[in-house]
């Protein structure tokens, strides 16, 4: 019994060593926690910056849309029929009279057609997806697909 106690005492760590181990473990935990927190902060900061960026771009998009509308209207105002007529008169043009018009036949002349401001609606053509399945399916689906593919090949290989 005494021997056992002696052995136990002999192999028992010194108290300062155990404290050091605990401190080490705690420090490791702290370092890990700090690391995780650091990564988290870094990622969330980046996310926040990108988020702000997206919000700014959305605002810019709205602003650009408004500017396009505004400039289209301003341009139309500059090109309005009254403005154009006044400008033409200033440049010395005058309205043509019926007797001044000479009608000529121009081979190949194509008459002005209806205005097309947007493409005409067409029937939707269902096409094959452009992204390969590997980029869209889950790991399990991929494994299942691979397994069934292998099974199929094995069954085909049988005489």
């Amino acid at each position: 019994m005494e021997q056992l106690e002696y052995l136990a005492k002999s192999y028992t760590q010194a108290p300062w060593r155990r404290q050091l181990q605990l401190i080490g473990l705690f420090s490791l935990f702290l370092v890990l926690a700090a690391l995780v927190a650091g990564i988290y902060l870094n990622v969330s900061a980046k996310t926040a910056i990108i988020g702000r960026d997206i919000q700014a771009k959305q605002r810019m998009l709205e602003s650009l849309d408004r500017d396009i509308e505004d400039r289209t209207a301003r341009l139309a105002s500059i090109l309005s029929v009254a403005e154009m007529e006044a400008r033409a008169r200033k440049l010395g043009f005058e309205q043509v009279q019926p007797e001044q018009i000479v009608y000529l036949k121009l081979p190949g002349y194509i008459e002005r057609g209806a205005v097309i401001l947007a493409p005409y609606a067409q029937k939707t053509v269902v096409s094959a997806p452009m992204i390969p399945a590997e980029y869209t399916e889950s790991l399990f689906t991929w494994l299942r697909r691979q397994a069934s593919f292998t099974m199929l090949r094995l069954s085909e290989a049988k005489p």
């Binding site: 509308e69 289209t72 209207a73 947007a118 493409p119 005409y120 609606a121």
Partner: protein
């Protein structure tokens, strides 16, 4: 004993903590299991973490047939004050009232001086400040900033003054085609014309979304498509020319109003529709100055006012008669100067007797007595069936708000009398709109096929253009009848050397002079409605022009006041529509 005491204490605290933990778990479970509570919680969280944003799509644009913008959107600003940030309400009031038009110092000062509270954080000063005003305010802010750097706190401040851009309807052509377009009020509601008729399509659908304030939770903004755009059948230059012609005609003839409709009889497309009065659509709030309340002036007389057309109606009576075989062009009627129909005596416009006349002569001299006789030959059933086939008494369905159906009495109606057959035959006792008449007469010009009048040529929605198909609304007469009548009307114009004749172009047409009835008194006034309808070239009609002058004072006769307006309109039209004179056209065609 001490151990036992400690044991109980520990056990009690342990049990208490366990109970609390179980309580929390149960509460979590109860919340999770109650979807309503969950939704309520989510809503509460959203209220704190998200702000509501209404995305108002840009209103669709309106173009003429060649893509010239008739209605678009311009950028304007809402100017307001963030009450918590305001330092110098007096200076804000000075600056804003000096720079922004139509805003008073007292109003701005009272708004900027409001005490901020949880229910009052922001005050709107104006919602429609122009870009130029905001540019000036921005410049002032910049100068003040420089002054502040130089002078410190004593410099006046615009702090708290903010502005947000948004879109407002804008009409670059101002009053041009105003009666067709209508306008949009500042609450984005369309009134009159195309703007009212297609309000929902043009305005699109506003959408309210919750936008996270936390940039970590930023979400993709939903795509809110702009309102659909419209391409009209109107030609901007032709519209301007027609408006100038009708304005001049109203001024020259001292008429109360004027209306001029130009239509392609083959397609039903309305190329121009000029009416008086008109307003600058960018200043729609002046509407009541031009259309005083209670005056009953329609925004667009071409579709909104029915009137008794008079003799311009006679081609329809003749068309039915020829089509039903009641008469032929060579049928001779001996005009004795009066005829009795349903107990009343009908006389000619000059109260004279014109003797033997063939049907072309009846039209040429616009003989009421002859046409009343023709109507009796047709018989009431065929006559009114024919008029209904011409679409009279019904809406034409033209793409404009405020269309009225007019009035066509028929046998069986309480207010129809046998005498109406005689008076209706020359356009009396019947109410039609100019666009109804143009559509009906277009059947004569277009080989008996009546096209639905249309103003909208294409709709651009979701990035695609959809053309509106031409629609046939009836075939009231046979093609041979239409051709025969066209020839009769062309000859009648030529024979009387009408002021409507256009050198180089063969046109067909008919004048109309209608007395204006006074309710309860009948046709006792000297005032008339003078009209003219004509089309050309007769062998290949490309245009149909309907002219109506209301109460002309220089002369009551359509042949004197309305026919020259038709000629002036056609002289311009042939240039804009690239229509060579008939002989040139035939020569060019034969050289093919």
């Amino acid at each position: 004993m001490k151990d036992l005491d400690q044991y109980w204490r520990y056990s009690f605290v342990g049990a208490l903590l366990c109970a609390a933990a179980i309580g929390i778990v149960l509460r979590i479970m109860s919340i999770q299991a109650d979807p309503q509570r969950l939704k309520q919680l989510e809503a509460e969280i959203e209220q704190v973490t998200k702000v509501q944003k209404t995305i108002v799509p840009a209103r669709g644009q309106i173009y003429d047939r060649w893509g010239n913008l008739l209605a678009g959107n311009k950028k304007v600003y809402e100017i307001g004050v963030e009450l918590q940030d305001v330092e110098d309400p007096q200076f804000i009031a000075h600056a804003v009232s000096m720079i922004v038009p139509d805003i008073k110092y007292e109003y701005v000062f009272s708004m900027a001086s409001l005490k901020p509270s949880p229910s009052a954080v922001y005050a709107t000063l104006t919602r429609f400040a122009p870009q130029e005003a905001v540019d000036k305010l921005e410049l002032l802010k910049k100068q003040l900033k420089e002054d502040y750097v130089a002078n410190g706190k004593d410099a006046p401040s615009l702090r708290g003054l903010v502005y947000y851009p948004h879109l407002e309807r804008y009409y670059p052509e101002k009053a041009l085609a105003s009666n067709i377009l209508g306008f949009v009020s500042r609450d984005n509601q369309g009134y009159f014309g195309v703007e009212e008729r297609f309000n929902e399509l043009l305005s699109g659908k506003a959408r309210t979304v919750l936008v996270p304030t936390d940039p970590n939770r930023v979400e993709e903004m939903p795509e809110v498509p702009n309102g659909a755009s419209l391409v009209l059948t109107i030609e901007r230059e032709v519209q301007l020319a027609m408006e100038e012609i009708i304005d001049d005609a109203v001024a020259e003839t001292g008429s109360a109003s004027g209306t001029l409709v130009v239509m392609n009889p083959k397609t039903g497309e309305i190329i121009a529709m000029a009416t008086t009065p008109r307003i600058d659509l960018n200043e729609y709030w002046r509407l009541e100055e031009v259309f005083p309340p209670g005056s009953n002036i329609p925004f667009n007389r071409a579709v909104g006012q029915a009137y008794e057309p008079g003799s311009v109606f006679k081609p329809l009576t003749m068309a039915i008669a020829l089509d039903t075989g009641a008469v032929t062009p060579d049928t001779v009627f001996v005009d004795t100067g009066s005829i009795e129909v349903g107990g009343i005596f009908i006389v000619n416009w000059n109260r004279g007797a014109w003797g033997p006349q063939d049907m072309t002569g009846c039209l040429q001299h616009s003989l009421n007595v002859c046409l009343a006789w023709v109507a009796t030959q047709i018989g009431p059933n065929n006559f009114y069936r024919g008029l209904q086939a011409f679409g009279l008494g019904h809406l034409t369905g033209v793409d404009l708000a405020g269309e009225v159906a007019g009035r066509l009495k028929a046998p069986g109606d309480n207010d129809w009398f046998a005498s109406d057959l005689g008076t209706n035959s020359f356009g009396q006792g019947i109410a039609v709109t100019p666009v109804q008449m143009a559509a009906a007469i277009s059947a004569i010009a277009n080989n008996g096929v009546m096209m639905a009048p249309k103003i909208v040529r294409s709709v651009i929605n979701d990035g695609y253009q959809h053309d509106i198909e031409q629609r046939v609304i009836g075939m009231p007469i046979k093609p041979e009848t239409a051709r025969t009548l066209s020839e009769m009307l062309a000859r009648s114009l030529e024979k009387e050397s009408s002021d409507a004749l256009v050198p180089g172009y063969r046109v067909a047409g008919k004048t109309g002079t209608a007395e204006i009835p006074i309710p309860g008194q009948g046709y006792t006034s000297n005032q008339t409605n003078a009209s003219f309808v004509g089309w050309g070239p007769v062998d290949d009609p490309q245009f149909l022009v309907y002219v109506w002058l209301e109460k002309p004072s220089t002369s009551p006769w359509g042949s004197v006041v309305a026919a020259p307006v038709f000629r002036r309109a056609v002289e311009k039209l042939v240039i804009y529509l690239n229509l060579p004179p008939d002989d040139v056209r035939r020569r060019l065609a034969s050289s093919n």
